[in-house]
C-alpha cells in the first residue's frame, strides 16, 4: 500500500491545481460573502487547499471538491475569529458564518457554492486601485493564476508582485471598497473599468511574440475566458459582447502575425489562410448580437473594425471607407488622438497617402513622442516617394520603440525601402 502514497499525492496535487485554476473566483467570492476581509479570505482559501492536499492524499478525492474546500476554508475562518481577542464583538458580525458551519455539520452534503464572481470582479477592478494592481488582482482572484505566474507574465519579481497583491487586499478592506455590484448610475462607468482591465490583459499577451513570451501569450486566453465570464454574469450587455468579439477577432490572427523567428508580420503581408475561422465566426456572431442592441460603444466599434479586416479576402479588398468612418465614430466618443492616427492610416488606403499625410499633421502635436505615429508617417512618406523624410521618421520610430521585435520590424521596413530606391 505504501507504494500507492506518492501516486495518491500526485493525483491530489493535480486535482488541487486544476481546482485552483477553475474555481478560485467562485470560492473566494463565496468566502467574501461571509468573511469581509479580503486578505483573510485569501489566506483561509490557501490554508484550505493545503488541508485538501493532506486529506486527499490520504483518503482519495471527495465527490464535490470545491464544496469540500469551501467548507474547510469557512472552518479556517471561524477558527481565526474564535482565536481573535475581540471575539464577542465579532461574533455578531460573523454570526452568519458560524450558522453556515453549524448547518453544514448537521448534513453530509457539501455546501452549495453561491456565484459571487460579478461582485468579485467589480471589487478587483475598482477605480480606487491602481490599474496595474487591478490587472494583477483580477488574474490572481478570478483566473486563479499563481503570484509567480503573474509576476513572470509582467516581468516582475515574485516578491514585488506578492507585496502589490497584499497591499491591494489590505486597501480593499481598510478603505471600505464595497464587495458589491455598482448601482445603475455608476454601472456603465464601472463596467468600463472591468472591461478595460480585461482588454489590458489581452493586449499584454497580444504584444508578446515567441519563445520566452509564450506564458505571456496565455494572457490572451485568460482575457478571453474573462470576457466569456463577464458575458455569462452580465448577459445581454452590448459592450461585454463587443469586448469578447474584439478579442476573438484580433486573436483569430494570432498564428499569422508572428513569423518563425518571432518577428511581427503586418496585416497586409499576413497569410490569411492561417487566420482562425472558428474565432472569426464566433467573434462576428457575437458582434452582430451586440450591434443589434443599438447601444454602440468603443469596444463594439473596435470589434467592427477588426471584423472588417477578418471578412476581407485581401488587404486591398478591405472596406477602408467603412473603417475610416468607424474611427471617426470612436473619436467622437472619446477624443483620443490615437483614433485619428489609425483613421489616417485607413484613409491612406481609402483615398491615398497624400490625404493621409495631411490628416496626420493634425495629431502631430499630441502624438510627437509616440512610436506608432512616426512609424505610420514613415510609411506614408515612403509611399509618396519622400524617401529622405521617410528615413528620418523610421529612425525616430526606432528610437522611441521599447520592444526589440518592433525595432527589428521597423529596421526591415527601412531596409526594404532602401533596396527599392
Amino acid at each position: 500500500m505504501a507504494s500507492d502514497v506518492p501516486e495518491l499525492e500526485d493525483r491530489a496535487r493535480k486535482a488541487i491545481e486544476a481546482l485552483a485554476r477553475a474555481e478560485t473566483g467562485r470560492l473566494l467570492g463565496a468566502l467574501l460573502r461571509d468573511v469581509r476581509d479580503f486578505q483573510m479570505a485569501e489566506d483561509c482559501l490557501q490554508e484550505a487547499l493545503e488541508s485538501a492536499l493532506l486529506h486527499w492524499s490520504r483518503n482519495g478525492l471527495p465527490d464535490s471538491r470545491a464544496g469540500w474546500v469551501l467548507q474547510a476554508a469557512r472552518r479556517k475562518a471561524i477558527d481565526r475569529f474564535r482565536r481573535a481577542r475581540n471575539f464577542d464583538r465579532k461574533a455578531e458580525e460573523y454570526g452568519l458564518l458560524i450558522e453556515l458551519d453549524q448547518q453544514a455539520l448537521s448534513r453530509e452534503e457539501p455546501p452549495e457554492i453561491p456565484d459571487e464572481r460579478l461582485r468579485l470582479i467589480f471589487t478587483c477592478c475598482h477605480p480606487a486601485l491602481d490599474s496595474k494592481t487591478r490587472v494583477a488582482l483580477t488574474l490572481r482572484t478570478l483566473c486563479g493564476l499563481t503570484t509567480r505566474e503573474i509576476a513572470r507574465a509582467f516581468l516582475y519579481a515574485t516578491e514585488a508582485m506578492a507585496q502589490r497583491l497584499v497591499r491591494a487586499r489590505h486597501k480593499i478592506t481598510k478603505a471600505g471598497i464595497p464587495f458589491a455590484i455598482p448601482e445603475p448610475d455608476h454601472w456603465a462607468e464601472r463596467l468600463n473599468s472591468v472591461l478595460s482591465v480585461i482588454y489590458l490583459i489581452f493586449n499584454e499577451g497580444y504584444s508578446a511574440t515567441a519563445g520566452p513570451d509564450l506564458l505571456r501569450h496565455d494572457l490572451c486566453l485568460e482575457a478571453i475566458r474573462l470576457g466569456r465570464l463577464m458575458l455569462e454574469l452580465a448577459p445581454g450587455d452590448a459592450e461585454c459582447e463587443g469586448l469578447l468579439a474584439l478579442m476573438l477577432l484580433n486573436h483569430s490572427r494570432a498564428q499569422a502575425r508572428i513569423d518563425d523567428h518571432g518577428r511581427m508580420i503586418p496585416l497586409d503581408q499576413q497569410d490569411r489562410s492561417l487566420w482562425s475561422s472558428s474565432e472569426i465566426d464566433e467573434g462576428s456572431r457575437t458582434l452582430e448580437r451586440a450591434l443589434a442592441r443599438r447601444r454602440a460603444g468603443l469596444f463594439q466599434l473596435q470589434a467592427a473594425i477588426s471584423a472588417l479586416h477578418a471578412e476581407a479576402t485581401s488587404h486591398a479588398d478591405t472596406d477602408w471607407h467603412q473603417i475610416v468612418l468607424l474611427y471617426e465614430a470612436m473619436h467622437a466618443r472619446s477624443d483620443n488622438p490615437v483614433y485619428l492616427l489609425n483613421r489616417a492610416a485607413a484613409l491612406s488606403y481609402a483615398h491615398g497617402a497624400d490625404q493621409a499625410l495631411e490628416a496626420l499633421g493634425a495629431v502631430e502635436a499630441a502624438l510627437g513622442g509616440y512610436q506608432p505615429f512616426h512609424a505610420a508617417r514613415a510609411d506614408l512618406l515612403r509611399r509618396t516617394g519622400q524617401f529622405e523624410a521617410a528615413r528620418q521618421s523610421y529612425r525616430r520610430a526606432i528610437e522611441l520603440s521599447g520592444n526589440e521585435s518592433e525595432r527589428q520590424f521597423l529596421a526591415s521596413r527601412m531596409a526594404a525601402m532602401e533596396q527599392s530606391t
Binding site: 481577542r85 475581540n86 464583538r89 475598482h126 480606487a128 481598510k174 478603505a175 471600505g176 471598497i177 464595497p178 458589491a180 455598482p182 455608476h186
Partner: protein, 116 residues
C-alpha cells in the same frame, strides 16, 4: 465607516474673493454641506486659515520646538476638511466629488482607523 475628506489646492488656483466666480464657488460648499446634513453623513467640516497662519510643533529631546509655517508657495496646501460617515468607499467618493475645490485642487479621501 468614517472617512476624512482632506481638501487640497494650490494657492491662487481657485476663484478669488470679490470675483464673480467666488459666489457660485461658496454656494457649492453650502450645497455640499446641506446634502451631507440632509443625508445624515456629516460629522464635521471646517475650512482652515491659510498656511501663513500655521505653526509647526515638534518635541525633540523633551524640548518643545515651534516653527513659523510651513510655507510652500506652489505646492497644494490643506485648506479644509469634512469628516463623513459613509457606508463604503463608493459613497465617500460620491460625497467627496461634491466638494467644489475638487474642480481645481484635489480631495484626498482617507478612512479613519478603527482601533479594535
Amino acid at each position: 465607516m468614517k472617512y476624512l475628506a482632506l481638501i487640497y489646492a494650490a494657492p491662487g488656483a481657485g476663484p478669488d474673493y470679490g470675483t464673480p466666480e467666488f459666489g457660485p464657488y461658496m454656494d457649492g460648499y453650502r450645497a455640499a454641506t446641506e446634502t451631507y446634513q440632509r443625508d445624515g453623513v456629516m460629522l464635521a467640516g471646517e475650512a482652515l486659515q491659510d498656511t501663513s497662519t500655521a505653526t509647526t510643533v515638534r518635541i525633540r529631546n523633551g524640548k518643545t520646538d515651534t516653527m513659523d509655517g510651513p510655507f510652500a508657495e506652489t505646492k497644494e496646501q490643506l485648506g479644509g476638511f469634512y469628516l463623513l460617515d459613509c457606508a463604503n468607499l463608493d459613497e465617500a467618493i460620491r460625497y467627496a466629488a461634491m466638494i467644489p475645490t475638487a474642480e481645481h485642487g484635489s480631495v484626498e479621501v482617507r478612512p479613519i482607523m478603527e482601533i479594535e
